[in-house]
Every structure is written in structure tokens, then in C-alpha cells.
């Protein structure tokens, strides 16, 4: 098995496990405003940064983390817009979350263009 494939498999299993773990926490806690905190948990970062450090080194991972700050700002805009839309107009949650996904892409790439 090539190193690339084995790393992708490791990412898949570690990522799936960590994302499922935070999903369980989000399901368990009440009130829902508190449980929602786990919807923005650093699950992908926890799953992948360790492997990145092992394969590419800490400086490469630190560069990824710098961009992650921009992604987090974009996520904030996206989550706030979704929350407002659901509260105000009450569309189905899946429709609201998927249709507003371009906000995350737009804000994160706009911020990347602004700071690069």
C-alpha cells in the first residue's frame, strides 16, 4: 500500500471517529445553545493536524493553522446567517444549512485573497 493511500485511510478513520465523538457530545448536552458549541468543534483540525505534523513538520502545520483562523471567521458568518434564517423564516434545516454554504466559501476565499 502506498504511503499516500495509507495516510488517507488514517485520515478517514481518525476523522470519522473524532467527528462522531463531537456529534455525540452535541446530542447529549442541553440546552441546545450550549450543545451547538460542539457543532463548531475543531474536529477536522484534531483529526488531521497530528498527521500533517508527522508528515510535513510543525511549520507547515502552523501555516495551515493560520489559514484556519480565516476559515473560522467564515464559519462564524455562515453559522450566524443560518441561525438567523432558521429563526426568522423557519425553512427546513437541511435546506438552510446547504443553501447558505456558499457564504463559507465566499468569506473564506475573500479573506484569503485579502491577506495573501
Amino acid at each position: 500500500m502506498s504511503a499516500e493511500l495509507s495516510q488517507s485511510l488514517a485520515r478517514f478513520f481518525i476523522g470519522g471517529t473524532i467527528v462522531s465523538f463531537f456529534a455525540v457530545l452535541a446530542e447529549m448536552f442541553r440546552p441546545k445553545s450550549f450543545a451547538g458549541l460542539f457543532g463548531a468543534a475543531p474536529s477536522i483540525a484534531l483529526a488531521t493536524l497530528g498527521l500533517t505534523i508527522a508528515s510535513e513538520g510543525p511549520d507547515y502545520a502552523a501555516t495551515e493553522a493560520r489559514s484556519m483562523v480565516l476559515g473560522a471567521i467564515a464559519f462564524f458568518c455562515y453559522a450566524a446567517a443560518t441561525s438567523w434564517l432558521l429563526w426568522r423564516y423557519k425553512p427546513p434545516s437541511l435546506t438552510a444549512t446547504l443553501s447558505l454554504m456558499p457564504i463559507w466559501f465566499g468569506v473564506s476565499f475573500a479573506l484569503w485573497l485579502a491577506v495573501r
Binding site: G16, A23, E27, A47, M68, V69, P92, T97
Partner: protein, 149 residues
């Protein structure tokens, strides 16, 4: 009660919901890795804060709330969507903590290494998330005027 945890809620998660979350979470991590490999760490890093779990969790929150109300004989459609909106509000607060996690990584990883920075960043994430939630709760409670007697 300020915050409560119901372990019994885990039993309510159906097998296909577990599988969906696992596969989706795993797939997003693989895609984030491939993007970093092809386009470099700057673009790849953006995807470390991709809202991987949020759409699925919001729709499941709505579905569970609807089922809960249906068992009591009510149509819980509106209630389910309101609860999903509250969940989204919590996620927005969580994003500030997510950004703090990333900042800790960026600043201290090259100096202290992963064994120090992983637990430190996780603690910072948890502290900022819970701190913001408590602060918001306090502000909301303070802004509510007492009823005139």
C-alpha cells in the same frame, strides 16, 4: 439547571445517523488533506474550519425535536426549526473558540511542539467556548427587565 447531559440521548441516534456522520467526517478530513497536498497549506488550512458536522447536526436536531413533539401529539415542525436555529447560534459562538484554537496552534506549534500545543489548544478552545456561552447567558439574563409587581 445551567447545563445538563443526557446519556440516554445516545440511544436515540439511529445506526444510519452514526454511519452518515462517520463517513461524512472521514471524507471531509481526506478531502482537506488532498486539497492541502494539491494547493498548499494556505488553501488547505481554510478547510480545517469547514463546517463538516453542522448541516447534519442541525437537520438531526430538527428531526429529533419533531419526533419528540409528535410523541406528545403535536406538530413540532416550527419548534424543530427554532431549536435548530438555537443550535446554530451556539455554533456561531463556538466559531470564536475555533479561531482561538487555530491561533494557539499558529503561534506556539513551531516553538513548543505538538505534545504541548495539542492539549493547550484544546483547553483554550473549551475555555473560550464555555466562557462565551456563560457570558452571553449573563448578558441575556441581565437585559431581561424584572416584571413590575
Amino acid at each position: 439547571m445551567l447545563v445538563g447531559a443526557r446519556v440516554s440521548a445516545i440511544k436515540g441516534i439511529k445506526p444510519h445517523e452514526w454511519i452518515f456522520r462517520f463517513i461524512f467526517g472521514g471524507a471531509v478530513c481526506v478531502i482537506a488533506g488532498l486539497i492541502a497536498q494539491h494547493y498548499g497549506p494556505v488553501i488547505g488550512g481554510l478547510f480545517l474550519a469547514f463546517p463538516a458536522i453542522f448541516p447534519a447536526s442541525a437537520s438531526l436536531v430538527e428531526a429529533h425535536e419533531k419526533q419528540h413533539k409528535a410523541r406528545a401529539g403535536y406538530d413540532g415542525t416550527n419548534r424543530g426549526r427554532t431549536v435548530a436555529a438555537i443550535d446554530g447560534y451556539g455554533a456561531a459562538l463556538g466559531c470564536v473558540a475555533l479561531g482561538s484554537f487555530a491561533l494557539v496552534f499558529e503561534i506556539w506549534l513551531p516553538r513548543f511542539g505538538p505534545w504541548v500545543v495539542f492539549p493547550l489548544a484544546t483547553m483554550v478552545w473549551l475555555t473560550v467556548a464555555i466562557g462565551l456561552w456563560l457570558l452571553r447567558r449573563r448578558v441575556v439574563h441581565k437585559s431581561r427587565k424584572p416584571l413590575a409587581s
